[in-house]
Symmetry: C2
Subunit: 179 residues, 2 copies
């Protein structure tokens, strides 16, 4: 069975987007390691995201997770809802909590990996011990404020650096979570 991983571009001060949560233009200024990005993309078999990301229009036909890559999409929510199709993707809403959502996503992904979208989902999964790997593209900028990827988790998590690749201005780090 595949792993569950977090994959973000983060500023040196730990933000993944500016305060309004929408302005991610800064992110596209920075390339990363294409080879590693393509390799990771090829591993993804399902995506889990929060309902906030879904609801607030981060997900539109022009802005789909991983460019609309056709894998099952699961939205963690409190409100039961029929699946929604946007462009090529169908989003399934799961109301049984994060653990059950990850379980469904892992089953759907088979041998492939489950990618987590959004800082809130990433943090919830870390706290629930559901994250296997963390991939961070460290961007050469201090955003000064915004949505913090890890925020203050409250507990300590030991990591192991599996890989670090510098491409242009960005260093991509792949960590596993030590259990």
């Amino acid at each position: 069975m595949g792993i569950v991983f977090i994959h973000f571009t983060m500023s040196l001060d730990g933000f993944i987007s500016k305060p309004d949560g929408m302005d991610i233009a800064w992110m596209f200024k920075y390339g990363g390691d294409d080879e590693m990005a393509e390799r990771l993309m090829g591993e993804i078999g399902a995506v889990v995201l929060g309902n906030k990301d879904f609801r607030e229009g981060t997900v539109t036909e022009d802005s789909l997770p991983y460019g609309g890559m056709k894998v099952p999409q699961f939205v963690v929510t409190h409100h039961a809802r029929e699946p929604v199709t946007i462009g090529p993707l169908t989003f399934t809403f799961v109301t049984d909590g994060i653990e059950q959502t990850i379980k469904l996503a892992k089953e759907a992904a088979g041998d492939k990996w489950v990618a987590l979208l959004g800082a809130s989902i990433a943090q919830q999964c870390l706290k629930a011990g559901l994250v296997d790997e963390i991939v961070v593209n460290l961007a050469p900028i201090l955003l000064g404020d915004g949505i913090s990827l890890f925020d203050r988790l409250g507990s300590e998590y030991e990591l192991k650096l599996e890989e670090a690749v510098t491409a242009g201005q960005v260093t991509t780090h792949r960590f596993s979570v030590v259990r």
Copy 2:
């Protein structure tokens, strides 16, 4: 004239120490690139630190900045005070504000570099446009809480990655601040 730089080991979630500010044992678990560390140490001609760091006993005979390396030490403070000598180091207290302190430190350092100690001083100098370079050893751990190196600076600062070296579990990044 030398540059002013910030030099820290930071957890992936942006902390330089645990909440009490004292427990930095976690830091010593992680080596970094020795060659780069030695090169940077050799460049340092003066150290600037905050009075809080000085006052709260972070600075003791057993725990001196850069292992007691004999360069001029300047403490930014609001309260005038005679110089204090601890072990081989003499600390000069400057009450004229951060800009004046950096000016004095740069003069004392000559062609060498001024190192900033403590997150508060680092942030104040960044905001005042006084920082030339930022060196971060990224440690493979999420501390979950603690003293945040950059916190929420409130403004954006563009950086340029000058160098990235991975040694063992730590990647050392040297950035210049773009002006």
